[in-house]
Amino acid sequence: MEHDLVLELPSDVRSIEHAVEYVVRRCQTFEDHAHRLRLNFRVGLTEALSNAMLYGNDHDPSKRVRVEVTLTAGAIRARITDQGDGFDPCSIPDPTCPENLMKSGGRGVFLMRQLLDEVLYNEQGNEVTLVLRLNRALPGLEGGARA
């Protein structure tokens, strides 16, 4: 598949903010969905990049994170791939359970799933595809976040 935007990033969390802002700016043609881009897509992409650099590539600056974004009339798809061994996304406990609420970590995958329409992992668990649909209004909180 041909992608509209491809980025290769070092595993440096300081690069995340600029990369996310660049991708979001490139998606600004979908101005009818500005709020969902600003909140849902931006936070979801930040989480995916953060997970890829911190946990996937284990902070290793020699390892890269690849971002492939495809824009269509109906959806924005962002595929984020790291060079790590992968993980089991089903192993992440629900951070909203009372016993987990005071934990400082474990909210990234949860937020991605709440904010995006689809969050798809490959079998190895080192690649995640985020899908933000643009052709329908989602129920729940304004902007499509699902409570």
Binding site: T46, L101, G105, R107, L111, E142
Partner: protein, 110 residues
């Protein structure tokens, strides 16, 4: 982008300018912990000029809240915009923090 720290009436006010994300969360943590070690116990973190917070940013707020409480102090949050409130509600962290509309309200009675 950064963190502006001021102190007034026994309360340490931290204003977050820009984002609170994985790339700068340690800076916020370090600043607050320095004040905690110096004896400050009452804190307000204000988000009037904050674009967004990611899960790492939320995590550092939880961590700081725990440390401040352990020292007998209190942390309040203020001026969350609609997007930020959504993130706190989704993660149920709105049940963990005292959140006010303005920093002035947060400072009242602290």
């Amino acid at each position: 982008m950064g963190f502006q720290v001021s102190r007034s009436g026994g309360v340490t006010l931290v204003e977050v300018d820009g984002q609170l994300i994985v790339g700068n969360r340690q800076e916020l943590k370090q600043k607050v912990l320095e004040h905690l070690e110096a004896g400050d116990r009452k804190y307000v973190i204000d988000f009037a000029n904050t674009g967004y917070i990611d899960s790492s940013g939320l995590g550092v707020l939880v961590s700081l809240s725990k440390k401040i409480r352990e020292q007998g102090g209190e942390l309040r949050l203020s001026s969350l915009n609609e997007d930020l409130r959504t993130l706190f509600e989704l993660t149920k962290l709105d049940t963990l923090f005292r959140i006010t509309d303005t920093k002035e309200k947060a400072l009242e009675g602290l």
